[in-house]
């Protein structure tokens, strides 16, 4: 394979699947992973325009890209999607479980449906996507899964309880899955960012954002590119002895 134009080779020849790639961190992940040389497929649930932009960014890197309009809760849709990628690209080396949602709701106002919605997309979605991808990884006896967690799942901070609970679930999911599939040379880790320039932080009132930043050692919130760049390293072969680990990337909160 010729080296993609203008990129480094950290992930050259890797075939990567990113969940929730049409916006925010998901798009930054797709951009950074493709810039590192990987072929990148992603799914999205509704934003066709955003997905088209992500796909254009991937192909602009000179690598292969695919977009699938499939929910992470659509078990059969995920199965078809992974089947398509496996046929076209002859396998998936890396899965990044990124798809996630939140709602700025206090617990007394949180309906059962709200709880289910956030837990389903953030935790069950990672389970379903991992299961779909793992069959091929186990067959090939290699692979890597990176779950996107959150500071909210690890530390005592003011965050919606369903969001925090779902991200804490991702930490446990990471540990148990890492133990279970290591025998097939599949590594599973979790990258847990603090507040970023887009995402959950956007729903915070200004005074709470300022209070947060005051306690961050680096004195600022993180960028999507910083997280995506670290993710590219974590899923690369250069990170070969980390397994079951959750790493906080919060600027030193």
């Amino acid at each position: 394979m010729t080296e993609p134009s203008g990129v480094n080779s950290l992930l050259r020849d890797k075939r990567v699947m990113v969940t929730g790639g049409s916006r925010g961190l998901g798009r930054a992940l797709c951009e950074q992973l493709s810039a590192a040389g990987a072929a990148v497929a992603f799914n999205y649930s509704g934003d066709d325009e955003g997905a088209a932009q992500t796909l254009a960014a991937i192909t602009a890197s000179g690598t292969r890209g695919r977009a699938f309009k499939v929910s992470v809760l659509d078990e059969s849709g995920l199965s078809r999607m992974i089947g398509d990628i496996e046929r076209e690209w002859d396998g998936v080396d890396v899965l990044v479980n990124n798809a996630g949602v939140s709602q700025p709701l206090p617990l007394p106002l949180m309906e059962e449906g709200d709880w289910d919605h956030v837990m389903d997309i953030n935790a069950k979605g990672a389970f379903l996507a991992s299961r779909a991808v793992l069959k091929g990884m186990i067959r090939r006896r290699r692979g890597c899964i990176l779950n996107i967690g959150s500071l909210a799942g690890l530390r005592l901070i003011e965050a919606p309880v369903h969001y925090s609970a779902s991200k804490a679930a991702i930490k446990g999911f990471t540990q148990a899955l890492a133990k279970e599939v290591a025998r097939y040379q599949i590594r599973v880790n979790c990258l847990a960012p603090g507040l970023l320039e887009e995402g959950v932080g956007q729903s915070l009132p200004e005074h709470r954002l300022q209070e947060y930043v005051k306690h961050v050692a680096l004195g600022r919130i993180g960028t999507l590119q910083e997280v995506a760049r670290f993710a590219a390293f974590l899923v690369s072969d250069r990170n070969s002895y980390m397994n079951g680990e959750t790493i906080l990337m919060d600027g030193g909160l």
Binding site: G219, M242, G251
Partner: protein, 255 residues
């Protein structure tokens, strides 16, 4: 910018560079175009061999149990280059080798075998040297930012059967990294710790075959690690990291 672009010319000092992990770190940094100085103490032959292997590298002899010598090593490197971009602390000691031949589960007397001088030596070389070097490095880095990476051990993070003074010293490093990250963050100096599991050299050579097998049995990747794997992570932190700080990152294969 590519990582090679970021790495080119960075001024790095590796404490304990002649050791098993330290030499791998020196090689990884030099291979990416960084300028490397390293300290050594008793192992002149290894230091000379490494200096010969890495053209342009600087070998500095320093007894890191001495606060002033740790400071002087950092100052020397900074003087040579007119500043410092990264300090990587790889120096350490396992303590008295006989501690590792005792099966603590069968004969729980390892605690009693640690002498006061053994405790002091462990703390001096592991934690006090790190403090002294970080203090000097923070000055040398000035307001331009930089990276401090401490290579500690899983023994300071997880509950594993290790000599108490060894685990204590590594635990101190973990707390030191957190406090340093808080204090130095405003100057864009990022401070992190890599906490390796058992590796195929260095301190782990003192372990019995039974202990190594026990580790592998519980390690989910079913193997011990290598110094090169640790060095790759250190190199990323030094060249690419802009937002991870205050963290202790376990590289133990999933224990």
């Amino acid at each position: 910018m590519t990582s090679a672009g970021r790495a080119e010319g960075l001024r790095c000092l590796v404490l304990g560079g002649s050791g098993y992990v330290g030499s791998a770190v020196c090689r990884a940094l030099a291979s990416q175009g960084m300028r490397v100085a390293f300290t050594y103490w008793k192992n002149d032959a290894s230091a000379k061999s490494l200096a010969d292997e890495l053209p342009g590298s600087v070998a500095l002899r320093a007894d890191l149990t001495q606060f002033a010598q740790a400071t002087a090593a950092v100052d020397s490197a900074a003087q040579i280059w007119g500043g410092l971009d990264a300090l990587i602390q790889c120096a350490g000691t396992a303590g008295e080798p006989s501690l590792y031949t005792r099966d603590a589960a069968v004969k729980p007397d390892r605690l009693l075998a640690i002498s006061e001088s053994g405790w002091d030596e462990m703390m001096d070389l592991t934690s006090k040297s790190t403090f002294a070097a970080c203090q000097a490095a923070a000055q040398a880095m000035g307001e331009g930012g930089g990276h401090i990476v401490v290579v500690g051990s899983m023994d300071g993070v997880k509950s594993v059967p290790s000599p108490v003074h060894y685990a204590s010293a590594k635990g101190a490093l973990r707390a030191m990294v957190q406090a340093l990250a808080k204090e130095l963050g405003k100057r864009r100096i990022l401070v992190n710790m890599i906490a390796p599991g058992i590796l195929d050299g260095g301190v782990a050579r003192l372990l019995s075959e039974q202990e190594r097998q026990e580790y592998v049995k519980h390690c989910s990747l079913k193997r011990i690690g290598t110094a090169a794997e640790i060095a790759q992570f250190v190199a990323w932190l030094v060249t690419e990291n802009t937002y991870v700080t205050g963290q202790s990152i376990l590289l133990d294969g999933g224990l």
